[in-house]
């Protein structure tokens, strides 16, 4: 019998773009919130993170949540989970020099980020493998051939780009690289789970 393989417990990352969210309105709302709210300090170093944003305060965020509800509905079917609902949603503003340290979103089932204003140099998001393979896998992995695969790599990176949205399991550790340009990086993060 030839070798047959099965992939268990993968860390899926869903990526796409939303073009129906009014980024200008969201950006204005984000800076207004920053003016009146000292925010919270969790994984952000040098950046501002809002407190959770309630429904009905910003129509652009409400549109975003509608999009996310639809996407998570499909994802739930794909991975065999009950329907997921938004737990919380918040805004991040990372000015030049800001980073987000490695963290996860324990307590949620799925999490994600939507980029309101982001471009190259603003700080990509990097996902770290959540298992013990880092203690076992050799480094480097065929460097001369540069063949990182889903199996052998320790980190995967997704670009921060305006309109991009990334959805991922809440337990997947991730970090945001330093913003090295003069423009603020503005994103909206969220957690989904089951009530």
């Amino acid at each position: 019998m030839p070798l047959h393989n099965e992939l268990w417990f993968p860390s899926p990352i869903w990526s796409g773009k939303f073009f129906n969210v009014d980024n200008d309105e969201l950006k204005k709302f984000a800076y207004e919130q920053k003016e009146r709210d000292t925010g919270v300090s969790i994984s952000n170093v040098g950046g501002w993170q809002s407190k959770p944003i309630g429904k009905g305060l910003c129509s652009a965020i409400d549109t975003l949540v509608n999009n996310l509800d639809r996407e998570f509905n499909e994802i739930s079917k794909q991975v065999g989970l009950p329907q997921l609902q938004v737990y919380n949603i918040w805004i991040n503003i990372n000015p030049k020099g800001a980073v987000n340290l490695t963290h996860d979103h324990m307590g949620a089932i799925m999490s994600g980020a939507y980029y309101v204003q982001a471009e190259q140099g603003n700080g990509n998001i990097k996902f770290e493998r959540p298992d013990d393979a880092r203690y076992y896998l050799p480094t480097p992995v065929k460097p001369e051939e540069n063949t990182p695969t889903y199996f052998n790599t320790q980190v995967c990176e997704y670009a921060s780009l305006t309109n991009a949205v990334y959805l991922f399991p809440a337990w997947l550790p991730h970090r945001v690289e330093q913003n090295i340009i003069d423009k603020d990086r503005i994103s909206v993060s969220f957690n989904y789970g089951i009530y």
Binding site: M1, L3, W8, P10, L81, P82, D131, D132, I194
Partner: protein, 190 residues
Amino acid sequence: MRDELWFPQVIWNSTIDDLDNDSLKSYVYQKVEEEKINPPIGKPNQPWHSVSLIIEENNEVKKLVDRLNKKLYTICDDVGLHPVQLYDIWANVNPPGVANQLHAHIPAIFSGVYYLDAEEGQGDIVFERHDGGHTCLPVLIKEPTPFNQKSVTYKSQTDTCYVFPGWFKHRVTENTSNRDRLSISFNYGA
């Protein structure tokens, strides 16, 4: 939306059906006799495993290693790793009533098992997730998928061979039959 499946735990399965399992079984029981320590076979609730086998000592072990080397070469190519080498191989005997506790094979890149004598009831191998998903995923799921399970069980069957990452934690369920479960395990590394 596009999805990409990162960092999966891969289990490769296949059969090796051209080995003389009777000869291998005799060899394993010969080892048991030679190593009546470690712990002795028949001691309640403890599996027996041999010290490292000397490949040249038995022709069927040589053949098994040859088959495994070919499989591991293919696997490494598939996952973008340099070829790995066998660095340990040993025999296991699980008498009735015996199980193996959860463990990983530090520091092997790939590990695996070949079943010499194993049928239903003799103890299946259970792989458990340790990526954080086991603490976050809900108890009630709609249908089992590779994403939402907290463990996965593979049957122990004579002639079957499983290869898996050395870090993938696993255990063996109790042998509820009245026959010994015999297998050969191995580790490959850089």
